[in-house]
């Protein structure tokens, strides 16, 4: 009975994350359009897109192509159930942050496997860039994570949230400000927003990994992106913004973070890949290391 | 400008001004390289274009090399005529590498062979087997009708528009 309940809860959380992610992207498109002095699509445009993509025929380059994209979607779906979000916390004793990050890594591996089995060099260059960029942003993010770990004396997101209870001043945002800034920049890279969107640079490598994806494959890619967006902003809310007492506040906090990312996205061009990585290893890593030093000493 | 016209005339070439800032030089085919290298040596460093005119009534092709001097703001059009039968010309790639592309283009559109140019393959056109299209004896209208022709065809029911040929 418990298992069934958890199963239903998990599926519900997955659906919620997809819906929220798609809505975020839709609102993001609208906001970006307004910055660009456009009217912009309706915020629910992404639901139309997903539906259309899943109902459009497509081509595949073989089973590895299919499996990779399914893995990309499913691994994130598996990761999202471990994320504590407000009062929804399906597995409260099992929310190790590193575990969630490694589960997400599986999604990237699956995605990478899928797109490079298509054998298109554009896609492969995109993947090479994505992995390089991953090395770029994970290092400062790791610095921040470990600072938070040592500071909160716990590695479980649920406990980190619990450690921040009791008002705004207890938030890690206030207590670990350098870490927050570093993580925020790393988040920009994680979300693949500019200036770190060299993975799918359309004008250079014709949208990189998505080159050979059409129809439902692209739909899976979009779903993956929306869950990824949900998890990544969710981790940030749990780490720094003190979690939330209920899911709506949680989503609102997530949106605040996404909104900041969007603003930067709208006015920034993209880095060259090595410039992006070295930027990540300069400013945010420095902040992360300073934060770690402060915490340790 | 006049000084160049004078010098070129004294070299035995026919030069005359065409406008405020351009003059033409008529040279025989053999002396083109000499003329161009003289011009390049005296400041005409930029190669503007190479083009061809098909004088079908005279049975000749006219090649026009256009070079420009930024220092003195004048332009020289070096013109030469070659026979239309089995046309060939020497390449000017050793003076301006840029000539490679222009010569390739002219070979494609007029069928003139440039000796010494390593790459005269098709460039703008693909799978072209007819007369070089910019020759005067190539009829583009006939070609177009033959290849894309509007055969009135019932499945679509669109009639070809009336065509007016001006004299």
């Amino acid at each position: 009975m418990t298992i069934l309940l958890k199963l239903i809860q998990g599926i519900g959380v997955g659906a919620l994350s997809i819906a929220v992610g798609l809505l975020f992207i839709g609102i993001g498109r609208k906001i970006t359009a307004r910055i660009q002095r456009r009217y912009g699509p309706p915020p629910i445009q992404n639901f139309f897109d997903i539906f259309k993509l899943l109902s459009k025929r497509s081509i595949s380059h073989g089973f590895a192509f299919d499996l990779g994209l399914i893995a990309g979607f499913s691994a994130l779906l598996a990761a999202v159930v471990f994320l504590p979000m407000g009062q929804i916390n399906i597995f409260p004793h099992n929310s190790s942050l590193i575990m969630i990050i490694y589960l997400m890594t599986m999604a990237y591996l699956g995605m990478a496997m899928g797109v490079s089995s298509s054998g298109n060099p554009n896609a492969t260059i995109g993947i090479a860039r994505a992995l390089t960029m991953m090395m770029g942003y994970e290092v400062p993010f790791a610095a921040v994570i470990f600072s938070v770990y040592i500071f909160s004396r716990t590695g479980s997101l649920a406990n980190i949230v619990a450690a921040q209870s009791g008002g705004f001043l207890n938030w890690n945002l206030v207590r670990l400000p350098f870490g927050f800034v570093a993580a925020e920049i790393a988040l920009q890279g994680m979300l693949g927003e500019k200036p770190f969107d060299m993975t799918i640079a359309p004008s250079e490598i014709a949208s990189g990994p998505m080159v050979e994806m059409g129809g439902k494959y692209l739909g899976f890619g979009m779903l993956q992106h929306s869950i990824g967006l949900f998890i990544e902003t969710g981790i940030m809310v749990d780490l720094f913004l003190g979690g939330a007492s209920n899911i709506w506040i949680f989503i609102a906090k997530q949106f605040v973070l996404y909104f900041a990312a969007l603003m930067i996205n709208a006015i920034m061009p993209r880095f060259r890949i090595e410039e992006g990585v070295s930027f990540m290893w300069k400013f945010p890593l420095l902040l992360g290391v300073v934060q770690a030093l402060i915490v340790v000493l | 400008m006049l000084k160049y016209v004078k010098t070129l005339n004294s070299m035995g070439l026919k030069a005359r001004p065409l406008g405020d800032w351009e003059f033409e030089v008529l040279t025989p085919k053999e002396r083109v390289a000499e003329t161009l290298s003289y011009l390049k040596g005296s400041g005409f460093e930029t190669f503007i274009h190479l083009m061809c005119v098909d004088w079908i009534d005279d049975g000749e092709f006219e090649l026009v090399y256009n070079v420009e001097s930024y220092g003195e703001a004048i332009q020289a059009l070096v013109k030469t005529r070659i026979p239309r039968e089995k046309p060939s010309m020497m390449t000017m790639m050793n003076l301006w590498g840029l000539c490679q592309v222009y010569e390739r283009e002219i070979h494609e559109f007029f069928g003139i062979k440039f000796e010494g140019n390593p790459n005269l393959e098709q460039f703008f056109l693909e799978n072209w087997m007819d007369l070089p299209p910019l020759r005067k004896d190539f009829d583009t209208k006939e070609f177009s009708e033959e290849l894309f022709g509007f055969k009135e065809d019932e499945s679509h029911g669109i009639k070809a528009p009336e065509r007016i040929e001006y004299k």
Binding site: A75, L77, S96, Y102, T154, G155, K216 | -
Partner: protein, 622 residues
């Protein structure tokens, strides 16, 4: 009663002798090797912790006691090494490389002896046997000239390690008058409070040997050469099992905790000697990763990867905390499993494609699907992705490091881990994904034997990933035997570190459900059709017009070119200075003793003389 211990050493020796006789008949040689491994494994089932066996040996008027002793660590190591060897020899029954079975059996004998020996003479002798047998094994690589060079280099490193250990043994013997390992360690821990520097010096002599064998920075230079140019069927053993001898040796000396008493703590309650050792591990991990990223030879790539993983292990065990030791041994085991698997699949790939250059392969997944999936599980494990086996140990290592408040080392390890993702995917892409060249149209999947092995290995990696408790339990016993408090681990994999808990099967369940959902969504969506790889996006240009072939539409050369610039300082020091320097050094030495090397007896004589000189000097100094 305890003669089974003797059999553990004797059986391989007998097998080796038989195999040496039939070495001309390849299959017979392989079969005997496999059978000996299997029998040894069978004998091992009768061995249990606490058994010991010793016999006296009259040597120059003194009596030498050769002792075999089975500890928790020994039996763990014995099981994993022999089990892996059995799988490997089973797989290589149908292999065509120039590996000699009798050498592998010699190494097995030495392997068992090393893990059980409780006296330094036996230990040293077994160590030497293992060293020489492996050096000769390396010689049989595909490229003769290069493998000769690699073997030479490996031999020099190995021999210098032996001298160091010999010197250490001799010194200890002069001090205590006994060769017993346990007695000597007890002696050392009794004097560590009085003469810390003395003890440090003696232990360093041993550690140099172990670091060389495990390929730890700065003694890592032989690793890529020996791994890359050894016979493809031998490399899995070299990487999976033989690198663990060094780890075993280190673990042997770790329980001393002699540094703790002799030296003040550095950060996070770690004695500064251990702290330095943690950093050596971290440097090895980062160095191995960075160098692996830019390799084009797949065996070299995974050689550096092994280096990096052993760096993790060393960093973890050097902490000498319960979590650290557990994580270290667990990672050593996981490394054995996934790296062994990866090298086994590489053996299949290389023997079929005929090249080990990444830029010359590609698209093989359609031809070798099972190998492809095995490799996929292997790199997923190596990258530490749940639910495969590498995840648990990496996670524990981070826990151990953070618990000691070592954030910087942890950050660097994390860097190595994301870097690992880069090179693993590069290898994965370049071998199996991408465009399939027409050269490989005739490539076939591995034989039935290979398929069985690959399924088994896939199963093992998933099993130990989902149920880490089965391996964490014996490790807990080892930790307990070292005098530390073992981690609370349940058989089903519920691990409690200090920082967070993790219930590994839960991840698997969640993945299973989500993959089911993913597949359902995939199949209810609109249909797809399969197209060939030639039908690809070419920006609208028609591929035939440009003479596009699979070879010219495959990107795998200089995969990470842009980041080369970032690591340029790294390369300038490592490659231009140290590496080229050692390379040249090897070349000169190599050419000088090439003649000696050809005649084995002379070479031994030469080294015997050198050894004697060192022996005399050592004796004089002591």
């Amino acid at each position: 009663m305890n003669s089974n211990l003797i059999w553990l050493v004797a059986l391989p020796l007998i097998g080796s002798a038989v195999a040496a006789i039939v070495v001309r008949y390849k299959f017979l040689d392989r079969l005997i090797t496999f059978l000996t491994f299997a029998t040894t494994l069978f004998v091992l089932f009768s061995v249990h912790v606490g058994q010991s066996y010793s016999w006296g040996l009259n040597f120059l008027g003194t009596t030498l006691n050769l002792t075999l002793n089975v500890s928790h660590l020994s039996i763990f190591m014995l099981y994993i090494s022999i089990a892996f060897g059995t799988v490997l020899t089973f797989y290589s029954l149908i292999d065509h490389s120039r590996m000699k079975g009798f050498l592998l059996l010699l190494i097995l004998a030495a392997n068992n002896w090393i893990f059980m020996s409780n006296d330094m003479v036996g230990f040293f002798f077994a160590w030497e046997l293992m060293g020489w047998a492996s050096v000769v094994s390396v010689l049989g690589g595909r490229e003769r000239e290069k493998s000769r060079h690699a073997a030479l280099y490996y031999m020099i490193m190995s021999v210098s390690g032996s001298y160091s250990m010999f010197f250490g043994i001799f010194t200890l013997w002069r001090l205590t008058g006994t060769f017993s390992i346990s007695a000597n360690i007890a002696y050392l821990s009794s004097i560590v409070g009085i003469h810390p520097w003395w003890v440090l010096g003696i232990v360093s002599l041993f550690f140099v040997t172990f670091m060389i064998k495990a390929g730890i920075f700065p003694f890592h230079t032989w690793v890529p050469l020996a791994y890359a140019y050894s016979p493809d069927a031998f490399t899995p053993f070299l990487s999976a099992v033989m690198s663990k001898y060094g780890i075993y040796g280190m673990l042997l000396f770790m329980p001393l905790s002699l540094m703790e008493r002799g030296f003040p703590s550095a950060f996070g309650g770690v004695p500064w000697t251990n702290y330095i050792f943690v950093w050596i591990g971290v440097i090895t991990a980062v160095l191995g990763t960075v160098l692996a990223i830019f390799q084009d030879d797949v065996k070299k790539l995974f050689a550096y990867s092994s280096l990096s993983n052993l760096g993790y292990v060393v960093a973890a065990i050097a902490l000498f905390t319960p979590v650290g030791i557990t994580a270290g041994i667990f990672h050593a085991f996981n490394h054995l499993l996934f790296k062994g698997t990866l090298f086994i699949t590489l053996l299949a790939v290389i023997s079929r494609s005929g090249t080990s250059k990444l830029s010359e392969m590609g698209g093989l997944w359609k031809k070798m699907p099972i190998t492809f999936f095995t490799f996929f599980v292997g790199i997923a494990s190596a990258a530490g992705i749940p639910p495969f086996n590498g995840f648990g140990s990496k996670w524990l290592i981070y826990q151990a490091m953070i618990k000691q408040h070592l954030p910087f080392a942890t950050i660097l390890l994390f860097l190595a881990s994301t870097g690992a993702f880069m090179y693993l995917f590069k290898a994965f892409h370049s071998i199996f994904l991408g465009q399939l060249s027409h050269d490989y149209d005739r490539v076939k999947e591995v034989s039935a034997v290979g398929k069985i092995t690959e399924f088994f290995l896939m199963f093992a990696m998933t099993f130990f990933g989902v149920q880490p408790g089965y391996i964490l339990k014996p490790i807990g016993a080892i930790v307990k035997s070292m005098g530390l408090k073992p981690l609370p681990v349940m058989a089903n994999g519920y691990v409690t570190g200090m920082f967070s808990n993790i219930y590994v099967p839960l991840i698997s369940w969640s993945l299973a459900v989500s993959f089911t959902l993913g597949f359902i969504l995939f199949f209810v969506s609109a249909k797809h059709k399969y197209v060939s790889q030639e039908n690809n996006y070419t920006a609208g240009q028609i591929p035939e017009d440009w003479g596009l072939t699979p070879e010219t539409y495959q990107f795998s050369w200089n995969f990470y070119q842009p980041v080369e610039k970032l690591f340029a300082p790294f390369f300038r020091i490592k490659i231009d200075g140290f590496f080229r320097g050692t390379g040249d050094w090897t070349k000169t030495i190599g050419s000088a003793i090439k003649e000696i090397f050809v005649g084995n007896a002379q070479m031994y004589a030469f080294f015997a003389i050198v050894g004697l000189i060192i022996f005399v000097i050592a004796g004089w100094m002591a």
